[in-house]
């Protein structure tokens, strides 16, 4: 039977909201369900509102959902904050701590109040068991497998000693029993275990880190920053076992400098950061383009400007990623669109970097970086990994590192190769790498470096297209909103609108196919999580055509409903006007 339900857990940071969500996620995934999560939490370690949303389904999921089916409130503040998103058609369920929370009257939702705080304090004598009590409650109410929950709890708390482990087992059981004793089930939600194999539960950050290792990345340097740090933490644990090195640098400038040094030495290297760190790396990015060094830089975007909202999502570093730096700097900018895409995107990023011998900036964001999703276990035999083009013996005679070629790509030596020595430099240079300020040389070298971008201008790897082949409205989003847009496109078409979506995986340079798509529709909507419409500006500049912006800067991702609403609005106004003309 088909089942698709959205849980949202709200409470205060430090109360175990996030771990409650993580355990629920893993339990649903191990029951064979598809999951898609979203988390939003304060930048402080304790205090401030925390929320974790888990969508579980028997079908493949594209977004975190629009409306909440089951809202779980740890306290009154969580209720006040999230109740507005709970569905009000009589089917929605509110599970709340009745010792701290009082719902309004006449809500038209199904209420399950349990004095969870009191139980934690009086019966279990440990306030921190609140989140496990809630898990027990959810287990009984909605069929979250009890023994799977027990197993996850033993994995998570086993190391903390028997007393703590037993306390949590007891909390799980008491939560379960409190429903048995005191409540009668009145809602229609129930999760059934499904058959499924070869699936993993990964965050965007984890998927990217492992994809990079698969691509052959063996040197990572970084500096801790939210929401990118998980990449470094996973690599610090695993990369040494691949014979690789992780260096915690003194700052992001040093991190990217080390990456360039390692890449110059022939090792695939990368760093990951967020906006403030990427700002600091800018000068080195120019050097990487000028000295033609293949490397990968990940930007897990967060809400800016300046320190902004470090734990909230945004897509506002696009123009920085494309244009940052003095001079005309050729580089590739990719945007990851899903957790699964993060794994394969990492491999493509390194392939593009070595193919074009230039830096590749990969845009992710807090929404994607830190959300869990079920993904099919990658088939590693199907993944092509490219290596740098080294010179042949013949080419090593009178070797010139920056030799003019048709593609712009010159064979690259690395230290240790006899006969291949050359000076890498950020100063304008001739084919041999020697300083040259000659007018002709500079224009030829500029053209050579930019020509390499032509190697990734078109192809099926560069975009995804959804919806009917002929459409009135085209949606061109980028990055992590792919699933949300795809879901909205399906909903819109079901409602009779003719809508298609084009989702580029490389946002600089823009794939040739994007132009064809834009010309094929009557109007284009560009949804993006920034204030000014950064991608819309790029499209206008590139195609000399206007687009309709849909911008949101709340620190939260789009929901499918928001995109659908815009489609309806555009359909009402723009299309009808077009017909009049």
């Amino acid at each position: 039977m088909k089942m698709d339900m959205v849980f949202r857990i709200g409470g205060e940071g430090g109360e175990g909201v996030i771990s409650c969500g993580e355990i629920l996620t893993l339990a649903c995934a191990r029951m064979g369900l598809e999951i898609y999560t979203f988390r939003s939490y304060p930048a402080e370690i304790k205090g401030g509102p925390a929320m974790f949303q888990v969508r579980a389904s028997t079908e493949f999921l594209l977004s975190q959902g629009s409306e909440i089916d089951v809202l779980i409130c740890f306290n009154q503040e969580a209720y006040d904050r999230h109740a507005k998103d709970l569905r009000r058609d009589g089917q929605g369920v509110l599970v709340y701590d009745s010792s701290s929370t009082k719902p309004e009257e006449g809500l038209n939702v199904i209420l399950y109040g349990i004095p969870v705080s009191e139980m934690a304090k009086l019966e279990l004598r440990n306030y921190l068991t609140k989140n496990i009590l809630f898990l027990g409650i959810l287990s009984k109410l909605f069929g979250v497998d009890f023994s799977i929950l027990e197993k996850i709890i033993s994995q998570r708390f086993g190391k903390k000693g028997e007393a703590i482990l037993n306390l949590n087992y007891q909390a799980l059981k008491q939560g379960y029993q409190s429903v048995e004793k005191n409540l009668t089930k009145r809602d229609g939600f129930h999760l059934e275990p499904q058959k499924s194999e070869n699936r993993l539960v990964l965050t965007g950050n984890q998927a990217f880190a492992l994809g990079a290792v698969q691509a052959g990345m063996r040197f990572y340097a970084g500096y801790p920053i939210t929401p990118a740090t998980d990449i470094m933490e996973l690599l610090a644990r695993e990369l040494p076992r691949f014979g690789g090195t992780v260096v915690q640098a003194e700052d992001e400038i040093a991190a990217v400098g080390m990456v360039l040094g390692a890449a110059f030495s022939g090792v695939k290297a990368m760093t990951a950061s967020s906006g403030p760190g990427i700002d600091l790396m800018t000068e080195f990015l120019g050097l990487a383009s000028m000295a033609e060094i293949p490397c990968v830089i990940v930007d897990c975007q967060r809400a800016g400007p300046s320190t902004g909202m470090p734990t909230k999502t945004e897509q506002s570093d696009l123009r920085h990623a494309i244009h940052a730096g003095h001079g005309d700097v050729p580089r590739i900018v990719m945007a990851l669109s899903s957790v699964e895409d993060a794994f394969y995107g990492a491999i493509r990023a390194f392939n593009y970097a070595v193919r074009c011998q230039m830096p590749v900036i990969v845009l992710s964001d807090q929404y994607l970086a830190q959300r869990n999703a079920t993904v099919r276990k990658p088939d590693l035999t199907k993944v092509a990994v490219e290596e740098i083009r080294k010179p042949s013996e013949f080419e090593l005679e009178q070797y010139k590192r920056f030799r003019m070629t048709e593609s712009g790509v010159s064979p690259m030596t690395v230290p240790g190769m006899k006969g291949g020595a050359f000076p890498a430099t950020g100063i304008e240079h001739d084919e041999a790498g020697e300083l040259s300020y000659e007018p002709d040389n500079h224009s030829q070298m500029m053209a050579k470096r930019w020509r390499k971008m032509n190697l990734i201008l078109q192809g099926p790897d560069l975009f995804r297209r959804y919806g009917p082949l002929e459409a009135d409205i085209g949606i061109v989003g980028w990055g992590s909103s792919e699933g949300v847009i795809r879901e909205a496109v399906a909903q819109a078409n079901a409602k009779g609108y003719r809508v298609a979506a084009f989702h580029p995986k490389i946002v600089h340079p823009l794939p040739v196919e994007l132009g064809d798509f834009i010309r094929s529709v009557k109007t284009v909507i560009v949804p993006e999580l920034n204030y000014t419409g950064q991608f819309a500006k790029e499209i206008r500049a590139r195609y000399l055509t206007d687009v309709i912006q849909l911008n949101k800067v709340t620190g939260l991702p789009f929901t499918p409903n928001e995109i659908l609403k815009k489609v309806e609005e555009v359909s009402e106004t723009c299309l009808k006007q077009t017909h009049k003309v």
């Binding site: 993993l200 040197f219 691949f242 991190a255 040094g261 390692a262």
Partner: protein, 286 residues
């Protein structure tokens, strides 16, 4: 030292055809000559050598050595050198730059190169001014120095690079003088042989904007065997000396280099949890 099949290389073999941009009499010529001599002494195969340079007059040096070179950006010699040496520990990595590079814009990298003990010899050509931008005072310029951006005299006190280096516990700290090539060559040989981070502060005067040959020549004194460089307190006292300028190895402490610790960490991780495959790591997330 990497194994070598290059035998009988002379200082000339390490020279490129490019003529240095430096002014006549520039101290950097002396430093370059000493680097050539060190390379000949140690018979470093050019393909295994990387010279990493900063920005400024001294930064051009990487283009004058017949080897792999990396002319980086201002102040960032040490991070790049760290990446190169860590990625391939068989390479001989020498870092060069000026006082602006090392002690101003890039000063924040020095304590961390020291903490890691990267196996890189860093030769800093200190002329107390920004030569390439035509003679503004630098972080090591004497207080009161009148120059382009300090026409009424430098307000700030000069930094003491040797005291700073000892405070950071850099494993090999020496001071040389570009006009004393025999002694300087010897210091560079020792710095390169030192396993770990070596900082050689070289007094390398700028004849065009701030000619200090005479006062330096009058005040230098060569350290003899009576100085024990392994005594950190004595080394620190020596670094604070004002009447004379001590030349030689001032401080020394042996310990494992970063790439050695990193390789050891890999061995331990593999010993404990086995060699990894992506397949296996992915399965942790089932």
């Amino acid at each position: 030292m990497p194994e070598t099949d290059a035998q009988g290389l002379t200082a000339k073999d390490y020279k490129t055809d490019v003529h240095p941009v430096w002014c006549p009499g520039c101290g950097d010529f002396g430093v370059l000559t000493c680097i050539y001599r060190m390379l000949a002494t140690k018979q470093v195969p050019p393909e295994n050598l990387v010279v990493v340079a900063g920005i400024g007059c001294s930064g051009r040096l990487s283009g004058y050595v017949n080897s792999y070179g990396f002319h980086t950006i201002h102040g960032r010699v040490l991070p790049v050198a760290t990446g190169i040496k860590t990625a391939n520990s068989n390479l001989e990595v020498i870092a060069v730059g000026g006082d602006g590079d090392a002690y101003s814009i890039g000063a924040g990298h020095i304590p961390h190169a020291a903490r890691r003990n990267i196996d890189v010899c860093y030769i800093v050509m200190d002329n107390e001014v920004y030569g390439l931008t035509k003679g503004q005072s630098s972080a090591t310029a004497p207080q009161g120095l009148a120059a382009g951006t300090t026409p009424y005299g430098q307000l700030d006190e000069p930094l003491n690079p040797v005291a700073m280096a000892i405070a950071y516990d850099i494993g090999f700290v020496a001071r040389g003088f570009s006009a004393k090539p025999k002694e300087l060559t010897d210091l560079i040989v020792q710095g390169v042989e030192h396993k770990g981070f070596a900082l050689i502060e070289v007094l390398s005067p700028c004849t065009t904007f701030h000619d200090t040959y005479k006062p330096i020549s009058q005040r230098i004194r060569f350290l003899g065997p009576e100085h024990d460089p392994t005594d950190r307190v004595k080394a620190f006292q020596l670094s604070l000396e004002r009447e004379t300028i001590p030349i030689g190895v001032i401080y020394k402490r042996e310990r494992s280099a970063f790439h050695e610790r990193s390789e050891e960490l890999q061995k331990q991780a593999i010993g404990k949890r086995g060699k990894a495959t992506v397949e296996e790591v992915l399965s942790q997330f089932q």
